[in-house]
């Protein structure tokens, strides 16, 4: 199975009727970094939040369509949403450290699931902080409040928090907006490592970041999928005029 996620003709509306996504169909490959890029309001974040059913919390109504993860439609009302969210983790644009220590942040998801064994929890803390390239910086202060860290460190802790649950898919919604270039570089490097084990979907905060990190890239414009293809070639040789215009900065 090369396609981890298959999206079939997904359409979505806001409660007031405005359309957010129109007939999106795409296949997302396993163990790769798929990038969703485009100007604001294009539907990228909305799509991301469909993948972990976070949209259930808002007044967005699914119009129609299916999202198959490992051949199961996650939009089905009978889906176990809790299990889904452990399988599909999300890192948000602003780092949101929970009001607890670094260690408690990381193990939060595991404790929710009922994991109590200290050995398992400690192991998860070390493993995920290493994967997020921040273990060396915080290993001596795991019991300090997470809010004491810098923005870039907080975001990597948030990534570790997600990885501690050993998800299969990792969603990142503009994770480096607001971070300094050094932290941004660390996060992007982490992505390259991550894709070996996980399926990574990234909404970048700039076209350049998209070009740096994408194995596959999808261009979204006002709720429609304009172009989707190989990351290497799409940025140098886009097929659609609108894609080219956006990449060249003719509109933003």
């Amino acid at each position: 199975m090369v396609d981890k996620i298959v999206i079939e003709n997904l359409s979505l509306q806001y409660a007031d009727g405005a359309e957010s996504l129109r007939g999106i169909s795409m296949e997302i490959r396993k163990n790769a970094v798929t990038v969703l890029f485009g100007p604001a309001g294009g539907g990228k974040s909305t799509l991301l939040r469909c993948l972990n059913r976070l949209n259930d919390l808002t007044d967005i109504k699914t119009g129609s369509g299916r999202i198959l993860i490992d051949d199961e439609n996650i939009l089905d009302p009978k889906t176990d949403v809790i299990a889904l969210r452990r399988k599909v983790g999300m890192v948000f644009a602003r780092p949101v450290p929970l009001p607890m220590s670094i260690r408690e942040n990381i193990i939060y998801g595991l404790e929710l699931a009922g994991e109590k064994r200290k050995s398992k929890l400690d192991e998860a803390v070390e493993r995920s902080l290493k994967l997020s390239a921040i273990w060396d910086e915080v290993k001596d202060r795991l019991d300090e409040p997470a809010i004491a860290l810098s923005g870039g460190q907080q975001q990597r802790v948030c990534l570790a928090r997600v990885l501690a649950l050993q998800p299969e898919i990792v969603l990142l919604d503009e994770p480096t907006s607001g971070l300094d270039p050094f932290s941004t570089g660390k996060v992007e490097a982490a992505l390259a490592e991550l894709k070996k084990e996980y399926t990574v979907i990234l909404v970048p905060h700039s076209v350049q970041q998209a070009a740096r990190t994408a194995d596959y890239a999808a261009f979204f414009l006002t709720g429609e999928l304009i172009e989707y293809g190989d990351g290497k070639t799409l940025f140098t040789n886009p097929k659609q005029k609108k894609t080219e215009d956006y990449i060249m900065g003719r509109f933003g």
Partner: protein
């Protein structure tokens, strides 16, 4: 030339205006401080261990006010038992579960309504329902239940505000990590809102402790020879005691009146101070 004249005029106006407003504020605040100091001074001499631990004699004209103090403590506790869990739960409902629809609006109107009902009308209600209909009689139980319903709106609104103050992003993150709504509330939201909730609870109970009208016909007794030991007993209480000795007992020593007022004041102010301290300490320690 013109602008110089105009600007000088405007600044004079401003200075006058500021002084006037400052005076208004001073005249509002001075009586508060004055009241407290006055009662402190006049009542201080009545305070003694006998006063605080003894029973009244000679038709209240001598002796202590222990039963009134204990009675107020019992009533405050009784109010807490009923209104705190119910109030916090209702606040959780409004903050975390309720959708923005007609039914929720109805609940909010009901709460606003409860908050505005005159305290003596609560007394009537308590008399009608708890004392007579449910046959609890004039009792701590009836008075506590009446005070609880009166305190409910305060606890609900302050608790809801405390819950809403917790950043929405915590909820989003928690849910995205696989938490149920209650797990999120229990593990994060309640914990972070607790100081605010506590402040509201204490302020609500402080109000209940000082109220006279709701307990007039539901639980207050003028004189009891011994301390109440069951919820079905009537009780003396500080606010009611003060009311009676200052209006209905002839040749009541002024000393004792001020002393009683002082004890009630201290009781209420202490709660106020505790609430304020909790609030400012929590603000300093917040991790968001």
């Amino acid at each position: 030339m013109m602008t110089k004249f105009l600007s000088r005029n405007r600044h004079t106006v401003q200075r006058l205006g500021f002084s006037a407003i400052t005076l208004v504020a001073v005249f509002t605040v001075l009586p508060i401080i004055g009241t407290v100091i006055y009662i402190l001074v006049k009542g201080g001499s009545a305070i003694s261990w006998e006063f605080l631990s003894g029973f009244p004699h000679d038709g209240m004209r001598a002796g202590g006010i222990l039963p009134a103090i204990i009675g107020t403590l019992y009533l405050t506790l009784g109010t807490a038992v009923f209104s705190v869990p119910l109030g916090i739960a209702a606040a959780i409902y409004l903050s975390e579960y309720a959708k923005d629809n007609q039914r929720t609006r109805l609940i909010r109107i009901a709460i606003i309504n409860l908050a505005g009902i005159p305290s003596v009308v609560y007394g009537l209600f308590g008399l009608g329902l708890f004392v007579l209909f449910l046959k609890f009689g004039t009792s701590i139980l009836a008075a506590s239940l009446t005070l609880s319903i009166m305190t409910l709106p305060v606890i609900i609104s302050t608790s809801e505000e405390a819950l809403r103050a917790v950043p929405q992003s915590f909820r989003t993150v928690s849910i995205s990590l696989g938490a149920t709504r209650w797990q999120t509330i229990n593990r994060i939201i309640l914990k972070e809102a607790l100081p605010g909730i506590l402040t509201g609870v204490i302020l609500g109970l402080e109000r209940a402790a000082g109220e006279t009208a709701p307990i007039l016909f539901t639980g207050a007794a003028f004189f009891l020879p011994r301390l109440p030991f069951s919820p079905f007993d009537a009780t003396m209480a500080l606010p009611y005691h003060l009311f009676v000795i200052s209006t209905q007992v002839p040749e009541m020593p002024i000393q004792i009146q001020y002393g009683t007022a002082l004890v009630l004041l201290v009781f209420v102010l202490t709660m106020n101070v505790i609430a304020t301290v909790i609030r400012s300490r929590a603000r300093a320690r917040r991790q968001w």
